[in-house]
């Protein structure tokens, strides 16, 4: 009886199950993958997809792609044994800085297509999401055109039909100007769909779209204007190079877009002027993430103890103040950059190490030699004896003795007696300077921009959550100033540039007569140092092959022609402090300084004409015969 019951039950189960249609049984909705309609039904889910697309934004310099992205171009020296190639190579490969991520573009195109087709999203959400994806797409095309020139402009997801014939997928390169036009027109199209909110910084806003538009139009304008100086850097189809007739149009667009931000139509953006000490204030622009900071427009944000942090502070903190033992001091700003910061009376002068007759100048405090300079110097660079986390750095290269010889050692812990004494004393700084000693400064300087003073930020485990600012108001002002200057509206330009300078303590305004192209180049160099602008600025002005000309630099080169846009900048120099030891002399125990080329620097940067536009790989060229090669390669 029991057996019959069991058999009946089992048979019954079989019959009921097997009666289901095949399609019901086989078409099981996936449990690990969200189908498109479901993913695009809920704003939170859409935002998580968009979050991934935001994370894939390509930056030239970035805090999460390491300290090394800041160190090149002779603006800094890499104090790490494995990274001396930066200063030992004689130039860059043609493939350097290339980017060709059409997977990212496809994902953005798919996102736009799917979000447009979504039916369950509220209209307001949908508009904003689509606008954000278009912003990211335009931003990446901007990044591509800066590095590669004109690239295939793909705005729809391409589908392969498995026919064996791929010609429908092979697109030629657009003109360089067409990519810039696309970036500008996209920004114009989406600016109304994005929030007009000064406190939204890590997502796209009207301000971010306009800032991108202004920068892109400025780049296009300067390539059109200065491209004529390097006629070799162009292609017959204008995939590289923009006709000079278009320059004025682009400059006008740049000025107009920047002025929308400046007139506060896109939100109450303004320069950060909060702290009384102007150098601290400048450093805080990059550290303050509160609503007080209305200078940052679009940032890559980080969050400590929540999985998104970076090791910039760990890598670059002063050695003796390090939270992480031997991990410190890699990014050392060069004297080349430090010399560029002008004096408070708007004049250029080298850091005074010698008097008129060639004798060393003695200083009571190490910081005295930098007195009376642009406040951005101490805000960007941590000077010798500078303050970080409540402690002062200990940077000096040894004792200068009365007979002209130098007493130093190979480590701060290696003590030596001074002449005429027997007690060993410290003869070199705990934070450097010793040739070839990694993780301590070898130029005399540490970086201050982005360096996080928060307790524990220098530990590998915790990391730092200082944000990387992609667009900020000061750059918008400088973009507007440059565009106005190139359009001949010097009066307007001077108003914008003086705002940026006044914030840095240069309160004597420049007059319209003072404003030259070189002034603009200089202002961008000191204001935007270590923000990923150097290469692209030098490229668009066609100055890269002039300043990085592959010739070695002498000290005379270093200290002369400061403020000249065409000044050679091929090797990073250092400024080494020495303590003077001569009991009986009034200068005993005072400081003197020497310009020194750190010994690992053996190469000299050479920017070839073929470096202006990065190489398109042979795999790409052979997969698509419509792609033309870059010039001069």
């Amino acid at each position: 009886m029991k057996k019959i019951f069991l058999i009946t039950i089992v048979a019954g189960l079989f019959i009921t199950e097997s009666c289901r249609k095949d399609s019901d049984f086989l078409d099981v909705p996936p449990k690990q993958v969200l189908p498109t309609e479901l993913a695009f039904s809920d704003p939170a889910l859409v935002l998580s997809i968009l979050g991934d697309l935001y994370n894939r934004t390509v930056d030239f310099s970035g805090l999460d792609n390491g300290w090394a992205s800041f160190v090149d171009f002779s603006e800094a020296f890499p104090s790490e044994n494995g990274s001396y190639f930066f200063v030992q190579r004689t130039g860059w490969g043609f493939g350097e800085w290339s980017s060709w991520d059409y997977t990212y573009i496809r994902d953005l195109n798919l996102f736009i297509q799917r979000a447009t087709a979504a039916t369950k999203l509220a209209d307001a959400d949908k508009k904003r999401f689509i606008a954000e994806a278009r912003f990211l797409r335009a931003n990446y095309y901007f990044e591509l055109v800066k590095r590669m020139g004109g690239v295939p402009l793909i705005t729809e997801p391409l589908e392969y039909d498995y026919s064996g014939n791929v010609t429908s997928l092979q697109k030629p390169r657009a003109k360089e100007s067409e990519i810039y036009d696309f970036v500008i027109s996209e920004a114009e199209a989406i600016k109304g769909d994005l929030p007009n909110d000064v406190n939204t910084k890590s997502r796209a806003t009207t301000g971010a779209a306009l800032a991108m538009e202004a920068r892109a139009a400025l780049y296009a304008g300067s390539i059109a204007k200065y491209g004529v100086t390097t006629p070799q850097v162009s292609l017959p189809g204008n995939e590289v190079g923009i006709p000079s007739a278009l320059a004025a149009g682009y400059y006008t667009k740049a000025l107009t877009a920047a002025q929308v931000i400046i007139t506060q139509t896109a939100g109450s953006y303004q320069l950060y002027r909060v702290l009384p000490d102007l150098s601290d204030n400048f450093a805080a622009v990059f550290l303050d993430k509160s609503t007080v900071n209305q200078e940052a427009i679009f940032i890559e944000d980080f969050k400590a103890n929540a999985g998104k942090t970076h090791g910039f502070t760990t890598n670059d903190q002063p050695f003796s103040i390090s939270d992480e033992g031997l991990d410190a001091g890699r990014l050392n700003p060069s004297l080349n950059l430090v010399e560029a910061f002008e004096k408070l009376d708007n004049t250029y002068a080298p850091i005074p190490t010698k008097d008129a007759s060639g004798n060393p100048i003695y200083y009571t405090n190490q910081l005295d030699i930098f007195a009376g300079r642009d406040a951005r110097l101490a805000g960007t660079v941590l000077l010798p004896n500078g303050l970080f986390k409540g402690k002062r750095t200990d940077v000096w290269a040894g004792y200068q003795l009365a007979d002209g010889s130098i007493l130093t050692s190979n480590d701060a812990g290696n003590l030596k007696p001074l002449p005429g004494t027997t007690t060993p004393v410290q003869v070199t700084g705990k934070d450097g300077v010793i040739n070839g000693q990694e993780f301590r400064t070898q130029t005399g300087f540490y970086i201050r921009k982005y360096l996080d003073p928060t307790v524990g930020s220098g530990r590998r485990g915790r990391g730092s959550d200082v944000a990387f600012i992609r667009y900020r108001y000061a750059e918008v002002l400088l973009n507007a100033a440059e565009a106005a200057f190139e359009l001949g509206q010097t009066g307007i330009a001077i108003g914008y540039i003086n705002q940026v300078r006044a914030r840095a303590g240069l309160v004597t305004p420049l007059t319209a007569g003072d404003l030259t192209f070189d002034r603009i180049v200089h202002e961008r160099r000191v204001e935007l140092a270590f923000e990923g602008h150097t290469l692209f600025d030098m490229k668009r002005w066609r100055l890269a092959h002039v300043v990085w000309d592959g010739n070695q630099m002498s000290v005379t080169d270093l200290v002369s022609n400061i403020g000249n846009a065409r000044k050679r900048n091929t090797q990073p120099y250092g400024l080494w402090p020495y303590k003077y030891y001569n009991p009986g002399s009034p200068n005993n125990n005072k400081w003197l300084f020497k310009e020194v080329l750190p010994s690992p620097v053996t190469g000299a940067n050479r920017f070839q004409l073929g470096n202006y536009y990065s190489q398109i790989g042979n795999d790409i060229l052979s997969a698509n015969p419509l792609i033309v090669k870059q010039p001069n390669q």
């Binding site: 092959h545 070695q552 050479r606 070839q608 010039p631 001069n632």
Partner: protein, 234 residues
């Protein structure tokens, strides 16, 4: 479990080892293709690793060049397989003219490799340095030379500057030098008997010789053309 190794296991391992080494790879290219850049039989001196050349071998799947660069004396060499190749120099490279079929499209030289081959590449430089004499006296290196303008047609280019470089090693150029004197092209009044001199700085460790070359930077041309290397003992 016992660790006894059976005889046939050893045989198997030996067989695998013996067969595994064979024929799963091509031999490396072994035919040396070399030569130098010349103009009327005279070598063209360059800066090392700055002027590239490209060799294409058509007919093998993806298209991509075999890259190489010329050395300081204008020599090149590369190892190839036997076969048919095309040799070219990329656009705007080198202080000389290379035939173009149309703007930006460079002519190629057909090269057939079967065994080692030496081939000099005849090019037409914009300028040549002639009658170069470099001497040292009283802590100075002095170079006296003539400049001959080779290309005088529509492609002719002006001289941007002339530089006299000295170095303590045999690599002498803007990137490898201990001292340099520049003479702007506009300051050259006559192309004959140009004289330039440069002070010899202190060399550590001391040596009683330097290497020197004169180079011409041509307007709008990236690569300089140099005089032959001179070793000067003083």
């Amino acid at each position: 479990m016992t660790m006894k190794i059976k005889f046939h296991h050893i045989i198997l391992v030996i067989l695998l080892a013996a067969t595994g080494c064979k024929k799963d790879n091509y031999d490396a290219p072994a035919q040396k293709f070399s030569g130098r850049l010349i103009y009327n039989g005279e070598a063209i001196n360059l800066e090392y690793n700055q002027v590239p050349f490209e060799i294409y071998q058509p007919g093998f799947g993806k298209v991509g060049p075999i890259n190489g660069t010329f050395d300081q004396e204008g020599n090149f060499s590369t190892l190839l397989f036997n076969g048919n190749y095309k040799f070219t120099i990329p656009p705007n490279q080198g202080p000389f003219r290379w035939k173009e079929i149309s703007a930006g499209k460079r002519d190629t030289l057909a090269v057939t490799i079967s065994g080692a081959q030496n081939m000099d590449i005849e090019v037409q430089p914009y300028y040549m340095l002639r009658n170069v004499s470099i001497t040292a006296a009283a802590g100075k290196v002095t170079g006296v030379f003539d400049i001959e303008k080779i290309i005088t047609d529509a492609d002719a280019k002006n001289i941007e500057r002339v530089s006299l470089y000295i170095n303590k090693t045999q690599f002498v150029s803007g990137a490898d030098q201990i001292a340099v004197t520049d003479l702007a092209g506009s300051a050259i009044l006559s192309p004959n008997n140009i004289s330039m001199s440069v002070d010899i700085p202190a060399i550590s460790p001391t040596q009683n010789y330097v290497f020197a070359r004169v180079g011409i930077k041509i307007d709008g041309v990236e690569d300089m053309i140099f005089s032959p290397l001179t070793k000067i003992t003083y």
